[in-house]
């Protein structure tokens, strides 16, 4: 980010083009390799058309999944390089005039699940958040409308490199007469957010994405009047993939804001790879009938009891993690946390977690 001011627009464009060229060469090598492999497969299985088709699909996925993941990394690293404008350096985020009594003692930051497409949350989530906001103490401010899965301060439909693609996909999702096409478009949009969850949990790329997201959250907090040293605390509450993003950004947010940070996740799917030992507390609210959250425990080895030295297991054995189970709750839909039968119970669990004592500043390192 320091270098951003030194680069001219033409050189920014050149750098982006260069990055795309490098990726294209990589993809080209992959395609050539796949071509050779396909020749071998075709000669070996010339009579079995179905098998060949399956191989085609498998190989295509083998190329497309990494290619989509790699493309998703481009904006994060272009941002980190300073080729794109947007986020300031941590030292310039907050107003450093002497702190007066803070208007809010607690900032509750909501990070949505992978269904989030834009700043506005889906209607069910908005209704849930309004209900939660009504029940919060006056000293607690709910921060909502954060785009959890983009580091850029623009929506997906305005992204410089892929706006045309997302606009087309959103149009298909909303207007196409065929339900299957609508479903496929919705899955593709959510796949983008799933990839971001994957990046956050990746030990190579996670630190940079999580840092950028922490800067984005800090910027929002600064706009809302948060000031380091004002005695306020930050609570990140994440639903589904939002829980992974919360775990990823928490330690960076703690360092940037110099405030105690805790996490409340509900129906969370997270890796447990992140640095958790300096957090003020972690509460996970889970549904007894939530298959997605249960899948997260299998998909992420860091949460397996077989790896007792993982960050998650160390935090668990140190007693820093509280678990609250809600009987009969599913991941989404009519038995999900935003449904009428369960939302009040989830809100009650969040309020109970908020009321838990906060670890002393000596322990949090703030």
């Amino acid at each position: 980010m320091k270098g951003a001011g030194r680069l001219y627009p033409w050189s920014q464009r050149f750098n982006l083009k260069l990055l795309l060229l490098v990726l294209a060469i990589g993809l080209g090598i992959n395609v050539v390799g796949v071509g050779h492999l396909l020749l071998a497969v075709r000669s070996a299985l010339s009579t079995a058309d179905l098998q060949l088709l399956l191989h085609w699909i498998g190989l295509l996925l083998l190329v497309l999944i990494p290619a989509a993941g790699i493309y998703s990394l481009v904006s994060e690293f272009a941002f980190w390089e300073g080729w794109l404008e947007g986020l300031p350096a941590p030292s310039t985020l907050f107003d450093h005039t002497p702190a007066v009594a803070a208007s809010h003692r607690c900032y509750l930051v909501y990070l949505d699940g992978i269904h989030q497409l834009e700043r506005d949350h889906p209607p069910r989530v908005s209704a849930f958040l309004e209900l939660l906001e009504q029940q919060l103490a006056a000293e607690t401010l709910l921060v909502r409308g954060l785009e959890t899965y983009t580091v850029m301060p623009v929506a997906l439909a305005e992204d410089a490199g892929s706006a045309w693609f997302w606009r087309r996909l959103f149009a298909l999702q909303e207007q196409h007469p065929n339900g299957l096409v609508q479903l496929l478009a919705a899955v593709l949009v959510q796949a983008n957010n799933v990839i971001k969850v994957g990046i956050s949990s990746d030990r190579r790329y996670g630190p940079i994405l999580n840092y950028e997201l922490a800067l984005k959250i800090s910027l929002r907090l600064a706009e809302l009047g948060f000031r380091p040293g004002g005695g306020s605390r930050i609570v990140l509450t994440g639903y589904s993939g939002g829980a992974e993003m919360a775990m990823g950004v928490a330690d960076y947010l703690r360092r940037i804001t110099q405030a105690p940070v805790s996490i409340i996740s509900f129906c969370g799917v997270f890796s447990g790879n992140q640095v958790l030992d300096q957090l003020s507390g972690i509460t996970t609210i889970v549904g007894s009938k939530d298959p997605v959250a249960a899948f997260g425990r299998i998909a992420y080895p860091g949460r397996s009891p077989l790896l007792p030295l993982s960050n998650w297991n160390k935090a668990l054995s140190a007693g820093r993690i509280q678990r609250d189970c809600i009987d009969g709750m599913n991941h989404n839909g009519n038995s999900g946390p935003f449904s009428e039968p369960f939302r009040l119970r989830v809100i009650k669990a969040i309020l109970a977690a908020l009321a838990l004592p906060v670890a002393a500043p000596e322990r949090t390192g703030c």
Partner: protein
């Protein structure tokens, strides 16, 4: 003296011509591996020109590293194996075994990348063991023993090269954040 040097260079030229397929494949493997950690170079906030240079140099270093590990396999086979080994034929054979690493660029993918990397490394070693077993009529256990030192060296060299880049990137991130 000059004649001796000329003879050596002729020999080297002839070997390079005979082993051109293997050397070419090693270079492709090097490029693919080098591209797989392009984001580590971005994490270091290098300029565009520096990134290109690093990619080229890393590709050559990685190709040379695989050539070195192949040489170790060849020397061990010459010392302990029963059949004579011709260097160019051996490099060609070994390089074909490294074919899965042409896809190593996919290791750059988030989350699934490291698993793909692991699969590629295992496949490469299995290929080399099978090649040595079939080509030199060695029992499986001997083939495993003779090829493992070179393989371990390759893993170590690649891990060291990539780890250094990431560590520098994270140090830059830490310096931006300051101390807690």
């Amino acid at each position: 003296m000059l004649h001796e040097l000329e003879r050596l260079l002729d020999g080297l030229g002839g070997w390079l011509i005979r082993a051109d397929l293997g050397l070419g494949l090693l270079l492709v493997v090097g490029i693919s591996m080098s591209l797989s950690h392009v984001f580590a170079l971005f994490a270091n906030r290098l300029a565009a020109r520096q990134i290109i240079w690093r990619l080229v140099i890393d590709a050559l270093v990685l190709a040379a590293a695989f050539l070195l590990t192949s040489s170790i396999d060849m020397v061990l086979l010459n010392l302990y194996g029963s059949n004579p080994v011709h260097p160019s034929a051996f490099v060609d054979g070994i390089a074909s075994c490294l074919l899965p690493a042409c896809f190593y660029v996919a290791v750059a993918a988030p989350y699934v990348g490291e698993t793909m990397g692991l699969v590629i490394w295992v496949l490469m070693h299995l290929n080399v063991i099978t090649f040595v077993h079939v080509r030199f009529d060695l029992p499986w256990d001997q083939a495993l023993l003779l090829t493992t030192p070179g393989y371990l060296l390759a893993v170590l060299l690649v891990a060291l090269l990539f780890r250094q880049s990431w560590q520098r990137g994270y140090a830059m991130l830490a310096s931006e954040l300051g101390q807690p």
